[in-house]
Symmetry: C2
Subunit: 352 residues, 2 copies
């Protein structure tokens, strides 16, 4: 068994530990932000962590209404132009805590007076040292180069930060996430059987919207780095602006389709894909029964995450990425590839 698969299965425990430890830091941060509400949040990250940042951007804007910007680190690290940081919170995300450009932005931001927060898996990392408020995830050492458990723990940490920023995040719902994930993990055998069909897939499109857009980015990244499938990643809206032209009969399109405000937009895309006879694989849950008739193939996770939440899809992203992780891991295995050590990759990437 690959380390990636083991780490996918480890997620319920990793999430539980991250939550148990994180609630305290979140309360401390919340007290801090109650005194002074930030006017802008800047998120800075690379790779899988940058996909987590995309989630954070939607989550924070939706639950707190504070505008969020995803930093372009090169503006500082290459062009040498630090942006104005008055009343700004800069949040770095890095599994290892050793991402060079992310840390450079955090260090510079802190020196210039921004509140700095760092989400990392390593309490002894440079990031934990550089920031004023480290928010540790407790995923345990991640040995596969393909990040899985650190991604979901980063999403969880972002819920805690949104809570700290005054967002309406219910801890009771967060506490259910590990069990939802356990439920999704029971689908592993079905997914293993399903991937057979995709053995020869060389290109694909992944689609999500709103809070699940990050999952489309992350699923695509996993397909690229572990299965060497060129997976172009879109929000449902952007797909319709041009790239839909790519899609022909039997073209594989992977779609995240929770119930809620994004569903009409996703449903419109699925209708179009059905006309084009695309090979859609839709990830959904029982609450969104209308997804069933629009999908060529379906992964329906057993329980509907966060029923009764506002917005309805608020707690779906962590459970929804699990089938995608299982899919990539099993497809890599089927293709005889080692997802733990993709060709030409290292675990820690240093860029400036």
């Amino acid at each position: 068994m690959s380390k990636m698969l083991q780490e996918i299965r480890d997620q319920p425990e990793a999430l539980t530990q991250t939550l148990d430890d994180g609630v305290g830091s979140a309360a401390e941060l919340r007290a801090h932000f109650e005194k002074r509400r930030p006017r802008l949040i800047v998120l800075v990250a690379r790779g899988t962590s940058d996909n987590a940042a995309q989630f954070g951007r939607y989550l924070i804007e939706i639950t707190t209404r504070i505008p969020v910007s995803l930093a372009a680190p090169s503006v500082l690290t290459l062009y040498g132009c630090p942006v104005d940081l008055h009343d700004v919170v800069v949040i770095g995300i890095s599994q290892s805590g050793e991402s060079t450009d992310t840390n450079a932005v955090l260090e510079d931001s802190r020196r210039r007076g921004a509140v700095t927060v760092g989400i990392t898996n390593d309490p002894a990392s440079a990031m934990a040292d550089v920031v004023e408020f480290p928010v540790l995830i407790h995923a345990g050492a991640e040995r596969s180069v393909a990040a899985t458990k650190t991604y979901t723990c980063q999403l969880l940490a972002l819920y805690l930060i949104a809570y700290a920023l005054g967002g309406a995040i219910e801890l009771a719902h967060l506490r259910k996430i590990p069990d939802w994930v356990r439920g999704v993990l029971t689908l592993e055998e079905d997914i293993e059987a399903l991937v057979e069909r995709y053995f020869f897939m060389s290109r694909a499109v992944t689609v999500g919207r709103g809070l699940n857009y990050a999952n489309a980015l992350e699923f695509g990244l996993k397909l690229m780095e572990t299965c060497y499938v060129v997976a172009e990643r879109f929000s449902a809206a952007d797909l319709m602006h041009g790239p839909i032209a790519l899609v022909e009969r039997a073209f594989p399109v992977f779609v995240f389709a929770p119930a809620g405000v994004t569903w009409p937009s996703i449903a419109g895309v699925l209708d179009r894909l059905q006309e084009l006879k695309a090979e859609t694989l839709v990830i959904t849950d029982p609450r969104n029964a209308s997804a069933r008739e629009k999908a060529a193939r379906l992964i329906e996770i057993p329980e509907s995450p966060g029923t009764g939440a506002t917005p309805e899809d608020l707690y779906t992203p962590i459970p929804y990425i699990i089938p995608a992780q299982l899919f990539a891991s099993h497809l890599a295995a089927l293709k005889g590839l080692n997802p733990d050590l993709p060709r030409t990759l290292q675990k820690i990437t240093r860029t400036l």
Copy 2:
């Protein structure tokens, strides 16, 4: 000849007209912003215009140090959560001025007190009506669904807005852009001959960084919508975080490589791609002679745009996209495809 190709060739005139008319609006805006410096710029756009927005984000942060956020329209249009807009400028970009979600964000922002600016090609559009400050581009009617001249005119409008925001943009350099573009257009025959090699290409990667990252996004979009090539698009830094695993012997990678602060990072990527024996095609100019030895294939534009500017690559993005537009247009023609009317696409896409 396709309308797309004609419109590519029309760009020197379109840019000249946009500049002639735009300098006045820019001066008016500059006077406005001198009285009150905004704390945050929010850019909102879709499709090709969203690629222009990516350019605007780097340009404005680098030249004015005001932080920039690329809006996720669904936060407002689907989730119904308007972000705080105190001292914020919201800039919409849309060729037609009829992009539903972009206009919804602008309308809501204006109602809540933000300064609103709209870059559009149609003075009679809803966008021109909705915003306080329309900045018109004068590209003439764009008849091809594949946007080309409106993209470069949008970039030009963004230079004018950066100038209006107090950025160190030299109008003398902007005035040279139409001639630089004319120079690049002389490469058309060479590019037409070059595309033969790419007849069977079904997947590719495009790479840029900093001010030319938007061009990587735009080149990829053109390859997708006009040639049906799945083109995954990366900043040089993000490519090294995972997706580099895709790249095998003879895998096509298109790279924007101007001289300046992004070159060491791009050079590192090219070195890695050379080891992997990838089929690189590098777009550069005579100022960056060191790009020559790192490229499998090269498009060297005749004149170095903006020599003496700070940063060095500040005026490269408009001339650099021209070879990419010619490439996509001629590859589509070679493949017997109609780039003016990609299958399943319409010129104006309405999304919420």
